[in-house]
Symmetry: C2
Subunit: 402 residues, 2 copies
């Protein structure tokens, strides 16, 4: 379907210019004209509209050579609050952001395996969102939306968790359950989409066209940005990289198949590699997977040979699978994130790059930068970005065109 009606263009121009202001503020109208490739007149009109909504403000003047001082534009931090929730397999992190997407307050709770039933998670979310508002002294009316990232496949429009393999959830109408108890707009999606949208607006995706954001945690997957926009696929499940078969007839995976990447390089998979190599390892007896992975990484950095072998095998699998992504998507940037990804990347980024380079074609490999995620709270930030987008595209205070 082509979308070139006048109101589509106005909406798309407004969202694009806002995205440029978020990415580059403080920024002048002249700089926006250059970076957006839109005409001076279009930029001027859209900026006037945005100043009228109160989302964008003139935050000062910059002296230009010989000419009049140029007004510089920024986002009005006080326009509202956004909440991003990163529901992971082992923890839930709630972050309150101001309208500039700057972090204000965080609450984090561990999520033990015995507390991962839908009703328990809903109770926990309701309770903690209230706690977040109270702790931060934020009036509920200030919150323009709550974005929630939840592992697995998500049906976005209805806010349904279709399938969360690590919890065996099927078709849980999470947004509806929450809306019954929280009177705020709820936006549901998964960490793969959240990581990609966060990079697109605020991170390594700013100003580029094609990016892959991989997330390595308990689960494993990739968010894909194509032609400057998040690629969702036909049913919002693009990027399910963790269920790529890397070993035919290999380990059973939580998804029901065998030999998936996630079964080798998700946190439980890494610990299984350790258990296979050294069934009696003390590293296996920490209180949970988070503590075990942290201890494993520390042991490997201190030269423990078994821990090192586990890391070598893991980085090799990750590298092989990164190579497939690079061959298929030919991106400009690959960002490595997720709590396991960050730990691996901090210590072994050169090894990950070398493993990818050994298995990828030279041309796409040379066109790609593999880097660690630089955004604090990448997934919460992405979840909050979904709430921001939802708000911006809806009226009357948003930028929706009516």
């Amino acid at each position: 379907m082509i979308k070139h009606t006048t109101s589509d263009i106005r909406r798309s121009n407004r969202l694009a210019i806002l995205q440029h202001i978020y990415a580059s503020a403080p920024i002048s109208r002249q700089e926006l004209t250059v970076s957006s490739s839109l005409s001076q007149a279009t930029v001027a009109n859209v900026v006037t509209d945005l100043l009228g909504t109160g989302i964008v403000v003139e935050s000062g003047y910059r002296h230009s050579q010989g000419g009049r001082p140029r007004a510089i534009l920024g986002i009005n931090a006080a326009h509202g609050a956004l909440i991003g929730v990163d529901v992971a397999e082992t923890y839930i992190r709630y972050v309150l952001f101001d309208f500039q997407l700057l972090h204000k307050t965080t609450i984090e709770h561990a999520l033990p395996p015995e507390a991962n039933q839908p009703a328990q998670i809903v109770d926990c979310l309701v309770c903690s969102l209230n706690e977040l508002l109270q702790t931060s002294g934020t009036p509920r009316a200030k919150v323009v939306g709550v974005g929630i990232s939840i592992p697995g496949l998500v049906e976005r429009a209805g806010g349904v968790s279709v399938f969360a393999p690590n919890w065996a959830w099927h078709d849980v109408p999470l947004a509806a359950l929450l809306k019954a108890q929280i009177d705020l707009p709820i936006y549901l999606d998964n960490p793969l989409k959240a990581s990609a949208i966060a990079e697109q607006w605020f991170g390594a995706g700013r100003g580029i066209q094609n990016l892959v954001a991989v997330t390595l945690g308990t689960g494993v997957g990739a968010g894909v940005m194509i032609n400057g926009a998040l690629y969702r696929g036909t049913t919002n499940s693009a990027g399910e990289w963790g269920h790529t078969t890397v070993v035919l007839d290999g380990r059973p995976c939580s998804c029901g198949n065998y030999g998936c990447l996630e079964a080798y390089v998700g946190a439980p998979g890494i610990l299984q590699t350790l258990a296979e190599l050294a069934p009696g390892s003390a590293l296996l007896h920490y209180r949970d997977q988070t503590a075990s992975i942290t201890a494993l990484v520390a042991a490997a950095r201190q030269g423990d040979p078994i821990a090192n072998e586990v890391i070598q095998r893991t980085t090799r699998y990750v590298g092989v699978a990164l190579a497939s992504l690079i061959n298929l998507f030919n991106p400009q940037v690959v960002v490595i994130g997720g709590w396991v990804g960050l730990q691996l990347g901090h210590a072994w980024l050169p090894e990950l790059r070398a493993s990818a380079a050994r298995h990828a074609l030279a041309r796409p490999m040379n066109a790609t930068t593999i880097q660690l995620c630089q955004l604090p709270n990448q997934i919460s930030m992405g979840a909050a970005t979904f709430a921001l987008e939802g708000f911006l595209l809806s009226g009357p205070t948003g930028v929706g065109v009516h």
Copy 2:
């Protein structure tokens, strides 16, 4: 980069409407308005322009209930000729099309391994293109462009074959070599891109957003259509599916790596599976890989147990790798093409589907149709489509906006 200047929109609307006319002719302005989602006024204006160029013609009238008869639009077949060349590892096929992309004349030559040096291929192309024009009685001035598909990685703008692994070609400036001898516009790309663009304009991609066209021949890869348009990636090498690692430390591949999909399911890889299972098989002693694959498929269909085992292993690898594509791209349609793909698909499409379904996540799998390519000359047709697009986007007879 945003592309919403007025002339970008005009160009994009013209190309989109032409694509709808190609996809659905005979079609009325009213039907175009519905299928393109553009306004009635925009459609009317663009159609008037296109009638003026002579590319589009009114081909008759259709009576509508109660109203005036509606003019129906079509493409003027006589507006010019297009040539599509499918240079494969084992043959070269030259197809002359009229402007409706209907096939007029074909020439095909086998390409023996001793004739695959760049200078030999250039000579062959020059000679055969002249032969094609003479045989068909087409004046050179009628030809608006020649599209050439060549295996491997291609740098499109410069018309350079960057890397053709099966021939060990590196950085061959093919378009420049040809232009020195053929006074016609040349458009170079590879079979993965050609297969996807052919499906987008004329095949299974019409009217949908996301499609993957896989090509199985001597080489193996995928062309990707995203949001209704061919996805090229950062350096025009997206879709290199054949070099996905399917067996760690597996067979050496022509690309220099080990265990690539292509090393198992490209024609030479299939024959290697046969040689490993039955080193003395008579099927290995046909004159070339094309004849051997055809004989192998025939033997398997007649119940030969060794041939059957080779096919089972091959369909399994293809299915596993299709599952990864389905998980990553979440497409509406997967089209299987290429000379090996067509032979496998004609006999074992249910097995390929079942193998993919065993390894893909249920949600994206259920959203995907896996089907055989229905376009005769898919790759030549795609190559000719590149010439068509090049012509349409250039002036003065094209639809370029100046």
